[in-house]
Symmetry: C2
Subunit: 464 residues, 2 copies
């Protein structure tokens, strides 16, 4: 089965697998003990820490191993905010950070702190000046990912780091998506990453805290991992993670141009192959192996299912919220279409034949899903001179957009359509449809004005 979801988790690197097997024999003992087996485990753990530190641009004594990238982000956010509470309780982050950063921000807010999301542009990128403007007095921590996990856009970390340094604000860089693929970011005060994203095993994350950066663990005391990560250390996991990180860093110079070319090809061909498909994210400043697109009039989950039946493992852009029904906060922040969203992230050993077949299969898969979504004809009362009202209350996206497209030609140029919907995604997808179609989105009103209970009326003016 062609696996195009490396951004969720990469298959275990062959060298990591070898390292894990031998570490199960050599590094199984408790590194905190005094006997020979324990000292050997300790030495292997030290070596793993040195390797990871070197590959991430850190000192070994700045690096601790966590249980996951999510844990690393939570500890980084809460530990740095606690350590720097004398500066204030303001936390500034990009609007498109990983959910683990945003959830930690919510906890900080629940405890009386404040969190401020810096908007991104339509490509998902923060503007360093806009970021800097949020670094007001009282800011204890800022956070900016190295590259976005849903659309692959690389963030201007160095520029933001300069501004954070000037403002005296420590900067957390979540490098989960770039570690191993791109050179380590510069200027960070705290750095986090996740081993299973670079071909290491599950259960290993990394938290690095620069010497001199204030940090106070939010967890109960423990004497392992510099007091930052309580619990028995997963030494075999750390070793396998280190071996894999070194391997992928070494192959990156050769592999990245190949992956870039593959994604460039997809970016160029997909919109021609599939009508009403928008490729998202920055076309140039991006991760080498990742591409995200959205398709109008398509239910994303149904499309994933169709592709799965055709043998392709892909995911929907909103990786960490796909079990909920809320639209992706990343796509929302970009003002991008959230419906029919698919993220393709290529594994290191991607076969070009698989990519070829993906391009063959996708148009049919989208068409099949669109065919299933033929909605019941809604009431379309033509009130005198009033807008055309399309009542899609109680129907989930992409139905509201499908209705809009189907009936749009019924209003004259200059006329107005009001789509009534109680699905949150409509708030994002109707403006995105207008953008894609060159029509004018006129904003929203309460549904009550159109004789309905609940929901919102989204107004679209026909321009052509």
């Amino acid at each position: 089965m062609p696996y195009f979801d490396a951004a969720s988790t990469a298959p275990l690197h062959p060298l990591a697998r070898q390292a894990l097997l031998s570490a199960l024999d050599e590094g199984w003992a408790d590194p905190a003990r005094l006997y020979r087996d324990a000292r050997r485990a300790r030495m292997l753990l030290d070596a793993a820490r040195e390797t990871v530190a070197a590959e991430l641009g850190a000192r070994p004594d700045e690096v601790v191993f966590t249980a996951s990238g999510t844990q690393a982000n939570q500890l980084a956010v809460l530990g740095a905010l606690a350590g720097n509470h004398r500066k204030g309780r303001r936390f500034v982050h990009s609007a498109v950070e990983h959910s683990s950063v945003l959830h930690a921000a919510e906890q900080h807010e629940a405890a009386g702190g404040s969190a401020h999301g810096v908007p991104v542009d339509a490509l998902g990128r923060v503007d360093p000046e806009r970021f800097a403007a949020e670094l007001l007095p009282g800011t204890a921590l800022a956070a900016l990912q190295s590259a976005n996990h849903e659309v692959g856009t690389v963030q201007p970390v160095a520029e933001v780091a300069e501004r954070c340094a000037a403002a005296g604000v420590p900067l957390l860089v979540d490098a989960a998506q770039s570690a191993g693929r791109l050179p380590p970011p510069e200027g960070w005060s705290l750095l986090t990453a996740s081993a299973h994203k670079w071909g290491g095993p599950a259960g290993v994350g990394v938290l690095a805290v620069r010497k001199g950066v204030r940090y106070r663990s939010p967890l109960p005391a423990d004497d392992r991992e510099s007091g930052r990560v309580p619990g028995f250390v997963n030494v075999p996991g750390a070793i396998a993670a280190a071996v894999s990180l070194r391997a992928v860093r070494q192959q990156a110079a050769r592999l990245n141009p190949v992956q870039h070319a593959r994604i460039d090809r997809l970016r160029a061909e997909l919109p021609a192959l599939v009508p009403d498909l928008a490729v998202l994210g920055d076309p140039l400043r991006r991760l080498p192996h990742l591409l995200t697109f959205s398709c109008l009039y398509v239910d994303g989950e149904a499309l994933l299912g169709e592709l799965d039946r055709a043998g392709f493992a892909v995911s929907s852009g909103s990786s960490c919220t796909s079990s909920t029904l809320t639209p992706s906060h990343v796509l929302a922040a970009m003002g991008a279409l959230t419906e029919g969203n698919v993220r393709v992230s290529l594994p290191d050993d991607c076969a070009d034949a698989d990519l070829e077949r993906f391009l063959e299969v996708l148009p049919g898969a989208v068409a099949a899903v669109r065919a299933q979504l033929e909605p019941a004809a809604p009431a379309a009362p033509a009130a005198d001179r009033g807008p055309l009202v399309l009542d899609t209350l109680g129907r989930r996206c992409p139905i509201p957009v499908i209705e809009l497209a189907k009936h749009f030609a019924e209003v004259p140029v200059g006329g107005l359509v009001a789509v009534l919907s109680d699905d949150e995604a409509a708030r994002l997808d109707i403006p995105a449809w207008c953008e894609m179609r060159g029509q004018r989105y006129q904003g929203e009103q309460p549904s009550e004005r159109y004789g309905s209970d609940g929901g919102t009326a989204y107004l679209v003016r026909r321009l052509s």
Copy 2:
């Protein structure tokens, strides 16, 4: 190298190793995704959860996987206290819980709650009535381990659980040392365990919360593991843990009597082989594979080193605090001798020949360490009719006890010795020496009364 430290971590069970290898191939994908590889990972994770739940006497939907037993304990304590805060903020636990429970209790106290340690007897066991007496109004949570990690004493969990139920107080049972070896405890509201203690891999712990028990995660939100453990789930680790748990549970009926007999033999022979050695913990109600003893006039770390050179991997009783210099809180609570402390915990595949050799080697190892510890002759001023004063200020244990023993014959029967010491362990070890020697410990006074700055004077009356 004979490995006698299974209570720190057990070597990976052969079946767990096999399961881990195949799970790396079959269960590596993200179980939250929708495609085939992901669904397979999800099924394997569900199966692992069902197995662990069945072996621990829980329902699958009550069980989540954590990164370690320590994390499980921290989450259990803080999550149950938060979930039951309307009952009050009182946390009752035995004085000999694992450090992860005590550290969580400290955090609870730092946040304004209260924590109350229930004393244990000289064998390390809590009295159910005494425990029940602490379940005052306002108690939100109680905690009692299934068996002690340092001395192996099995706690009266069922009796305490009954009293907790009567008082309406949820009970956390830390089953880390017994899971797999003994039948699962009964009456728990929350149960924790650690896979690497039963031959599973590092990086996997278990937290079970009974249906209906109030729980509020102390960590930021996340939709994995029922919202209780944030981060990507280590599916291969969970599978290997489950396979190992089932295997050790199945072998326990056969293995436990064998291990019990081995430990019984050590308990019987050690005091005869090594002078001034005390075996600690309950001789009957105990873990099958674990024994702890202390030796007078011995530095524990030096003894571990001596045994390591002889090829034996053992640890000091205070497993989780051995990197600090404070004496074990478990031994302190028992009023046991803390000096020269060694914990022997046999692996499942313990060879009797290794045990034989341990009995051969130990007397010489203890003698070698005692020979190194010949102290400089202290000033022993014989004030008129006053006590014999032994000034060991600035010297670490076991020097104070060695001095006491060396000069004890210099006072007549009925006479008094004052040992001046600023090592905290002396407070435990001098009374323990008196107990072992049949002499009377008379309490402590400030050193100043004997003309010294700082430290404490420990008074011993010679009875024979």
